[in-house]
Amino acid sequence: MKKQIKLEELKNHVHDGMSIMVGGFMVVGTPEFLIDELVKIGVKDLTIICNDAGLPGSGVAKLITNGQVKKLIASHIGLNPEAGKLMSEGLMECILIPQGTLAERIRAGGAGLGGFLTPTGIGTIVEDGKQIINTGGKDYILELPLRADLAILEGTTVDLFGNVMYTKTTRNFNPVMATATDLVIVGAREIVKSIDPDNVMTPHIFVDYVIMEEL
């Protein structure tokens, strides 16, 4: 398979100060073995974009605990008390975004849109500093697209071309993040000859590298 690289080669594609989107929701759908490798490589000053801050000892929480994260963009950090502590001590910048807005900002980033109008957050501190646009008699917040340098995703099944299928609730943010970064690396649980074209959830054109999870 042309796109397959070794786990040790991940270090050639990451650098300090990088922005990284990490797939998964409360670690379900997060490629844990690639997070472990990022900890081992030790890249720092990262901007991490993920639904949440992981759980103590798993997911992006490992990068946070290891002091590699300068800025976290997430919708919920409540299940990782350390993230809240670092945030209130000013040791990690944390930007909280409503979950639907986070997903849609990433979608806009990948879909070539200049932004979108959402009613979510109207009348709350989420609207602070943002443009409010009234259309059809209703107020909306103009939310802007979100992109990153790299996406680290978990693909349940990847085929020889790099097409990806995600199982059950591991799908969550993975497919949309695949569209919104300059480089996409998929951690694969299994690599097969081909995935039924009807079942491809991320077309191979989005995928740059695949790393097989060694069990």
Binding site: V28, C94, A103, N172
Partner: protein
């Protein structure tokens, strides 16, 4: 009623609000208990914002699957007819008005139907998760919570914490009763006879509009 009975009392009353075919999202904590009281004669489609409809009961050792979780990251099962989807579709469902009822807990609710449940500045910053989208997009918003917090009213004239959304709450269910929020304020429509109307009024900072409320059955 002890703490657990109070939670079950609230959850079982909320479950009576659903209609056959409703798409329902239950928040983390007390609202999750509502699933234990769903009427068996109608079909409710439970949605979870991490990407599924058809949420089933907690798994046993036999059918446990680490790849099936709810929005709290807890293992769940999928009922027949259920399906998975990604986060953008999940929030098209939520924001787009395809969720009939969302049930959430709250720190504060006020007379205008505004609620605050995602941050206590300087103390607790869990984040809003999907709550802001849910209360903005769902057709009906029910708050399931204890009436007071260590004796302090949570149903206020005006929320003091940063809001989750303005003017979105339709109903509040507590251990003291059921309240509808309308344009003219909060109506006490049912009450738990273990409390007097005066008890309920003094545990509520907001003005309660009271017009022949129904006595609730306490069967816990």
């Amino acid at each position: 009623m002890d703490k657990l009975q109070i939670r079950d009392f609230i959850a079982s009353r909320v479950a009576k609000e659903f209609k056959d075919g409703d798409v329902v999202n239950l928040g983390i904590g007390l609202p999750t208990l509502v699933a234990n009281f769903l009427p068996s004669d109608i079909t409710i489609n439970l949605q979870s914002e991490n990407g599924l409809i058809g949420l089933g009961p907690k798994p046993t050792e036999v059918n446990f699957d680490k790849d099936i979780t709810n929005a709290g990251g807890q293992p769940v099962t999928l009922l027949e007819g259920g399906m998975y989807f990604d986060s953008t579709l999940s929030f098209s469902i939520i924001r787009g008005g395809h969720v009939d009822v969302t049930v959430l807990g709250s720190l504060q609710v006020d007379e205008t139907g505004s609620l605050a449940n995602w941050i206590i500045p300087g103390k607790m910053v869990p984040g809003m998760g999907g709550a802001m989208d849910l209360v903005t997009g769902a057709k009906k918003v029910i708050i399931a919570m204890t009436h007071t917090n260590r004796g302090k009213p949570k149903i206020l004239k005006s929320c003091t914490l940063p809001l989750t959304a303005k003017n979105q709450v339709n109903m509040i269910v507590t251990e003291m009763g059921v309240m509808d929020i309308k344009d003219d304020g909060i109506h006490l429509i049912e009450y738990n006879p273990e409390y007097s109307i005066e008890d309920i009024k003094s545990a509520t900072e907001a003005n309660l509009i009271i017009n022949d409320p129904i006595k609730m059955k306490v069967e816990v």
